[in-house]
Symmetry: C2
Subunit: 411 residues, 2 copies
């Protein structure tokens, strides 16, 4: 198995030097090839679906697993979109000349070999491969076991395009061992793998973070808060809260807990209750909330829970200090928003809340690589280092210093 | 012990919000206080020296341990220099406005709690504390056991200044358990510690890298190469090689292996032999080298060795390809240089050698935060992610996105 990684590492030295026009051409050919070979993919996918049905997986999971003509077309389109992104490799991000004439340039370069560990959806396979390839990296992918046949077929199609272009097919690789052991093995190969990106459930991310010898950029949960301050425009606050909760409840940038300033609780809570219940949201409140509106009581566990569903916990807070303390204790450092017209309070919230994205007077739902203008998204990092928040292909690079001299020596 | 880290984390929330002028004032007061209390430091240091002598530590180690009036003055001056650095916190590194009017700012912020693990020299204690403080971070330090008394006294002096300024003294903390167990414990506290920086021997760095649950930026060895290409100006090449090897042989950016193009071996090797031997450098050559000059034979181990001494291994290479392959196999990704007048060869070397710093026609000795203009240096990172190469206080920050809205919701 080590040989596999040696080959991926070798391939990464070649992908690192590819010109943008070559990468774009190949990504477009990969897109065409996915569409041309859709029957082959659908056949492989049928095997996965059968396995999933026999294993009694949930219908939601089976739906995520399913590939049909439309979804394969979407995968191809995603590759074409990636092919349109600005190539980050080689970009000069800083540069200066020393007094002795030495010219220093700080240049973006690919990271090398990226290991991506993800779950069921087989479309992630082509997305992840495309993003790594466009940023000059080789990748080794570990998808969900239940999507194994689909993933193998997709990778074979992509690899065939690489070979046709006289590039090493290992630039886009699938992990040779598809079991959990494969993950344990991969995350300890720091000699060959430069970065591990786990995407998936809390258990997977915890396991990878705790056991990896390779640096990890994790895409952990989003326990996002909106704090409605006493100086908020309450109608605006209702709109923002509704959007943050229900526009797409199943994603990481949706609001899970609403913090309401005690001085406006009497006015705001009935409004938000009506609006949320109209949208079919189940509300759970702290004890003080229950004095104003008749909803279910929230438990300690609620403040820790990323529902990913039409459920919202509500807590009354005394002031900004109290709101920040709650977010510090229960938040996941993803996205948090304050609604207020008070300048100083807004600034203090923005400065003190230690999350990847902090908002004033806007929905948390904007935390998204596409929305931010990064194009296709690797994910949303909950790391503090290397990449934080929405992660585009720019974040699949690191840098080096190129130093141009004409005989300089150090005194 | 967990309580200690809770306090450090709390303190980091306060240091993160300190204004530049306050941080500078406090660092200057710390510098004054070190000088004023020098006798106390020297007394504590005497205990460490006695321990070291009784433990039969080497005289080199004992010299590194020693603190006298002059060295304490240098420590104070280092803090005053740190106080003059540009405050990285709050700097806007990117910013744009979305079509819907949402204004996004990408802002540098402190990392939080930084754990620094280092060996004998007690001056690192005040340097590391000062760098972390100026960049808005709290720190927890683990110095060498043999410098324990000196470190405790230095930290107490710095903490006293914090308290006098009504700041939590835990912003600059020493690890409560000074044994190896203390390191094992610290590197697993990912709930409280945001970054671990190990500085020291290979064993320490390997142990930390392999066992840390906290992200690590390591400061590993520098196995640096100079490649003298066939189109080099040979006199310039001699000067660069001598500088890279002997200007300060005991540091990580010194050359350890010289690669010589076979086409100029006959002309260059006698020159470099004479120059190196004049400087008292012991030479060890590959088999082909020995056909030209009479020196000791290099073994496979030599190519792997960071001598940190006046010893140099020499290898004849066929061409650029061969030189790059050698560097890929044996280098440590720190600093590598090519001497050549050939434009295409220089560019290819710069692009393909995957080291933090790649040079053309200059000595590797320039890889240094001070030389690069970063001011005081945290170290030289051999990580590929987060920070690479010379690391100044700018690299002790991460970023967050501040997003300013006026009621935006997502469609």
């Amino acid at each position: 198995m080590e040989k596999v990684l040696q080959n991926v590492k070798e391939a990464s030295r070649i992908t690192a030097t590819l010109k943008g026009e070559i990468k774009r051409k190949i990504l477009n050919e990969m897109a065409d090839s996915l569409e041309k070979n859709q029957n082959q993919i659908i056949e492989a996918n049928k095997k996965d679906l059968e396995y999933a049905k026999n294993a009694n997986l949930s219908s939601a999971l089976i739906d995520r697993l399913l590939l049909d003509e439309k979804r394969i077309k979407a995968m191809a389109e995603a590759l074409r979109d990636i092919a349109k992104l600005k190539d980050p490799v080689g970009r000069v991000i800083d540069g200066w000349v020393l007094d002795n004439g030495l010219r220093i340039e700080k240049i973006k370069i690919p990271i090398g070999v990226i290991g991506i560990i993800y779950e069921s959806r087989p479309n992630v396979t082509s997305d992840a491969a495309g993003l790594c390839f466009m940023s000059g990296n080789a990748c080794i992918l570990k998808g969900g076991k239940e999507a194994m046949n689909s993933n193998i077929t997709i990778i074979e199609i992509l690899q065939y395009v690489l070979e046709k272009n006289k590039l090493p097919k290992e630039a886009i690789s699938l992990i040779p061992d598809y079991s959990r052991d494969g993950v344990s093995w991969l995350i300890r190969q720091d000699k060959y793998v430069d970065l591990i990106i786990p995407r998936g459930g809390e258990k997977l991310i915890k396991f990878v973070s705790e056991n990896s010898k390779v640096p990890v950029v994790k895409h952990d949960k989003g326990l996002c808060h909106v704090y409605v301050h006493e100086d908020a425009n309450l109608d605006e606050a209702v709109k923002i809260c509704i959007n943050a909760k229900v526009q797409r409840p199943g994603v990481c940038n949706a609001m899970e807990t609403l913090l309401v300033d005690k001085n406006i609780a009497g006015k705001f809570l009935p409004k938000i209750k009506e609006a949320m219940e109209n949208e079919g949201v189940e509300l759970r409140g702290c004890e003080i909330t229950l004095e104003y509106i008749d909803i279910k009581k929230a438990t300690e566990e609620d403040w820790h829970t990323e529902y990913l569903d039409k459920i919202l916990s509500i807590k009354i807070v005394d002031n900004l200090e109290d709101a920040i303390a709650h977010i510090e204790t229960y938040g996941s450092g993803h996205s948090d928003s304050i609604v207020t017209e008070n300048y100083s309070v807004a600034e203090e919230f923005l400065n003190r809340v230690d999350s990847a994205c902090v908002y004033v007077n806007a929905s948390t739902r904007f935390t998204d690589g596409g929305v931010f203008g990064f194009g296709a998204e690797v994910g949303i990092s909950t790391n503090k280092l290397h990449a934080r928040g929405p992660m585009g292909i720019d974040d699949l690079t690191t840098y080096k210093y190129k130093i141009y001299g004409n005989g300089q020596i150090r005194n």
